[in-house]
């Protein structure tokens, strides 16, 4: 399994290279460059902008800039933030943990609520429950987080004063887990609710199918009670498609966090990416995007490895 994981990782390197090249070129497309951000100021002369472009190496041809960037990346140098005047690596990694808290919270909420909802509706014979699930899916998948987040802030934050207005913790207080959770609850639920709808349908469909399988009937005939029958025998089989979806959704969850982070002023990677893009801080943008690329690859790999844990028939070779 280790050899398989290693081979998969090495095999994805050409794709990473290609993606990095594409991203680098895409950043060059819009008119104006990092130094032009200064040009809005009346006291910044065109000469000053040229001077800064030369300092940052932006006056060199694009392929040269890319190769320099790539060479540095291989050596562990992620570039230097134009605006923050410190290594892009520091800027990005500082925010990664915050984003993982948010996406982790959203993932946990999405999974728990999605599985619970899916199981409950699969077991229930009520047609109304099924219809309700369908309706919830449609709503959940089509309501954008910037809208639901704003509503949640308005109701729970302003009207009822249950949740804080944003951020990750109280200012000037030492770190406390309860404080972090208090700040995390609303954004995690908003971000995770999109997936509750989707995942509950997968669980619902998979479970319904598995419950009709012969081995479940056999278990029933042997006198296994209902709950163990569902959770021990049917659910692991029903969970396989969920794992696939999960692997594909984790990167989307991180990018989806961008909007939620802005609404709840969560100091994460997504908000950093937004401000860096607007400020044309290319080294930080590239560092953050490459981190996301790595995340996609790792998530896909973990998904494949998880199959082996869930399904003993899968062998890696």
């Amino acid at each position: 399994m280790l050899i398989y994981a290693l081979r998969r990782t090495l095999g994805s390197l050409p794709r990473v290279l290609l993606v990095s090249l594409l991203l680098f070129l895409l950043l060059q497309l819009p008119a104006g460059g990092p130094a032009d951000v200064f040009a809005a100021d009346p006291t910044a002369s065109p000469e000053a902008i040229e001077r800064i472009e030369a300092l940052w190496g932006l006056d060199r041809p694009v392929h040269e800039q890319y190769l320099t960037w790539l060479g540095n990346l291989v050596r562990g140098d992620w570039g230097f933030s134009f605006s923050e005047r410190r290594p892009a690596r520091d800027v990005v990694l500082e925010r990664l943990g915050n984003t993982l808290w948010l996406t982790g919270g959203a993932l946990a909420f999405g999974l728990v609520a999605g599985v619970a909802l899916g199981v409950a509706t699969a077991l229930s014979s009520s047609r109304a429950a099924r219809a309700a699930l369908q309706l919830l899916s449609v709503i959940g998948m089509s309501v954008p987080t910037f809208w639901s987040g704003t509503l949640v802030l308005l109701w729970f934050g302003v009207h009822w004063n249950w949740i804080p207005s944003g951020g990750m913790g109280r200012v000037g207080e030492p770190f406390a887990l309860t404080d972090l959770l208090h700040h995390l609850v609303a954004p995690a639920i908003v971000l995770g609710s999109v997936y509750v709808a989707q995942w509950s349908r997968f669980v619902h469909a998979g479970l319904e199918e598995a419950l009709r399988e012969d081995y479940v009937r056999t278990a029933r005939a042997k006198g296994v009670r209902r709950l163990p029958r569902v959770f021990k025998h049917a659910f692991p089989n029903a969970a396989i498609p969920l794992v696939t979806v999960l692997g594909l959704e984790i990167p989307r969850l991180v990018s989806g966090a961008m909007v939620t982070e802005v609404v709840f002023s969560w100091p994460g990677l997504g908000r950093l990416l937004t401000t860096s893009l607007l400020g044309r801080d290319y080294p930080v943008v590239m560092a953050a995007l490459m981190l996301l690329v790595a995340l996609v690859i790792v998530a896909n790999l973990l998904t494949d490895l998880a199959y082996g844990l869930l399904d003993p028939r899968v062998r890696y070779g």
Binding site: P30, A31, G32, G33, D36, V37, F38, A39, A40, D41, P42, T43, A44, S45, P46, A48, R51, I52, W56, S81, F82, S83, E84, R85, R86, E94, R95, L153, V158, N161, W162, I163, P164, S165, G166, G167, M168, G169, R170, V171, G172, T178, L181, H182, V185, G223, R225, L227, P228, V262, V263, S265, W266, G268, R271, L272, T274, T275, L278, R280
Partner: protein, 535 residues
């Protein structure tokens, strides 16, 4: 049989389910407790300031972002600032130099600055004239990405005859020094900490040491900066214990925080938040002067727009009152001269173009655009009167203004279209004269440098005699004489309708009624935070 003595599977199961149920209860209890925690409690003597953006670095001179300067004003001091009445106030200097008090040489090329002798850096070291000299060296260091070296780059030498005297020498007359030394390029740096250091990547950038009324205690990236009072501040110990600057990142978070009463001040709210802020109780809207204004650039060498009658028609066809009363929320008056009324050199007696569609139509007729096609668009020698307006994408109010202008000009028989581009591409498009009309804002310094006319000149204004008026300003030591030349130039531009000023662009701040002493000036909103008190 022995196996019958074992508990049946059915009996064991309820016991196995119990931990699950207990865990579920735990989750419910914890969730309820977390949700029910009361809202943020306020530390005594703490003022919270909301800032839509985060400073990129706290090492002064490396960032042009106004909000960075706001925070830097808490930590650092300037030689001078601009006070509430628009005049210079000494900060690190003992007095504002003039020709009369001997601080400025007769030819305006030498400034002698006397520093206060009671100023100490946060680490206890005294401020000396060497720090002023070092600051000049940093701003002009060729290896540092300093975005603006204006004025400082013309300094020939900074002499330090004694610890509290700095003599700034220019090769020739320089009338812009005071304005520059009181603006964002004013913060004095500690030579004893930074001399000989590599400032590009320095710990100081995120752990600054200044002379200011507050010291940085904590900077949580993307979230907030917490600053604590400097009890030994030379301007008097601050009344507040601390100031927290929260980086909201957007208008939604700002609104929520204001609605919950969590902030004493919200900096630079957008036009879109104006109506919301007007409806808030316990808060007032304050305009921070910025010497900035919205305008339409006109390409004066465009084949259609080089005709002054067409430019005047556009000016007469633009209902400035309509735009300031609606989109701009009724907080600013229309502007007619190319310097806003907040500026000391503003000319009030320029030619005005009141909204007058009939006068505009007559001017277009005179200019030869007197045929009207079946689609209502004017035609001259077979050419349709088509004009494109360049705008920066992404801001609703900007687009609304441009759309109103488009409608009004269309009523005159002008086929006006809008092209929107990304902000960073705007300067290069303008510099390449890839526009006919363009909407945007511009800001001028306390001592105007006229980069808009003598530098970029995107509008391709070609009246050299008029431009000579501006060129003479920088060598005129007498302020009244300068003002007269600047006003004469504004009258020419208005007469020629070479630019279409629309309205001032003040910085809009929302201040709590609890906050006393808050007095925004051209130097920003936080320059006098040591004088703030909370009711």
């Amino acid at each position: 049989m022995p196996h019958l003595a074992r508990p049946a599977p059915g009996q064991a199961r309820p016991r196995r389910r119990r931990p699950l149920r207990r865990a579920a209860w735990l989750v419910v209890v914890v969730a309820t407790l977390t949700l029910a925690l009361p809202g943020l409690a306020f530390a005594q003597g703490r003022a919270t300031v909301l800032s839509p953006q985060e400073p990129s670095t706290l090492l002064p001179h490396l960032d042009l972002l106004t909000l960075t300067h706001e925070v830097q004003h808490l930590i650092f001091d300037c030689l001078y600032v601009v006070g509430p009445d628009g005049d210079y106030l000494p900060q690190l200097a003992t007095e504002v130099p003039t020709v009369a008090n001997g601080g400025i040489s007769e030819d305006g090329s030498t400034y002698t600055i006397r520093l206060r002798d009671d100023v100490r850096w946060h680490d206890g070291e005294p401020l000396t004239s060497e720090d002023v000299r070092f600051t000049w060296q940093v701003i002009t260091d060729p290896d540092l990405p300093v975005p603006s070296r204006a004025v400082w780059e013309n300094v020939v030498d900074v002499e330090t005859p004694d610890d509290h005297t700095a003599v700034i020498r220019f090769a020739e007359t320089n009338v812009n020094f005071l304005g520059r030394a009181a603006s964002d390029a004013c913060f004095v740096l500690p030579a004893h900490l930074l001399d000989g250091e590599d400032l590009v990547d320095h710990a100081f950038n995120r752990a600054p040491v200044g002379t200011g009324p507050f010291e940085l205690a904590e900077w949580s990236a993307g979230a907030f900066a917490r600053l604590t009072a400097n009890p030994t501040y030379f301007g008097g110990a601050p009344d507040l214990d601390e100031i927290v600057v929260r980086f909201t990142g957007g208008s939604q978070a700002t609104r929520t925080a204001l609605q919950r009463g969590e902030a004493e001040l919200a900096l630079h709210i957008g036009q879109a938040d104006l109506r919301f802020a007007q409806g808030l109780s316990g808060y007032r809207i304050e305009q921070g002067p910025a010497h900035a204004w919205w305008q339409f650039w006109i390409d004066n060498q465009d084949p259609i727009l080089e005709d002054v009658r067409v430019r005047r028609a556009l000016a007469h066809g633009l209902d400035r009152d309509l735009i300031t009363e609606t989109v701009m929320g009724g907080v600013v008056p229309p502007q007619h001269a190319i310097l806003p009324a907040s500026h000391w050199a503003h000319a009030d007696d320029v030619t005005r173009y009141p909204y007058d569609p009939e006068a505009a139509a007559a001017l277009l007729d005179q200019a030869g655009w007197d045929q009207v096609g079946s689609d209502g668009v004017r035609v001259r020698n077979g050419q349709r009167l088509e004009i494109e307006i360049l705008n920066i994408a992404g801001q609703v109010e900007r687009r609304q203004v441009v759309q109103i202008a488009q409608d009004l000009w269309s009523d005159l028989g002008i086929m006006a279209t809008i092209r929107e581009i990304d902000g960073a591409g705007f300067p290069s498009a303008m510099a390449a004269a890839d526009f006919q009309l363009a909407y945007g804002w511009f800001g001028e310094n306390q001592e105007p440098t006229f980069n808009l006319w003598l530098g970029t000149n995107w509008q391709r204004f070609g009246d050299e005699d008029a431009l000579d008026l501006l060129r003479g300003v920088s060598s005129t030591v007498d302020r009244d004489a300068r003002a007269e030349a600047i006003r004469a130039f504004q009258r020419i531009v208005a007469e020629e309708a070479a630019m279409l000023p629309l309205a001032p662009r003040p910085l809009l701040n929302v201040a709590s009624e609890r906050l006393d002493g808050y007095a925004p000036t051209l130097s920003g909103s936080l320059w006098n935070a040591h004088q703030w008190t909370l009711r």
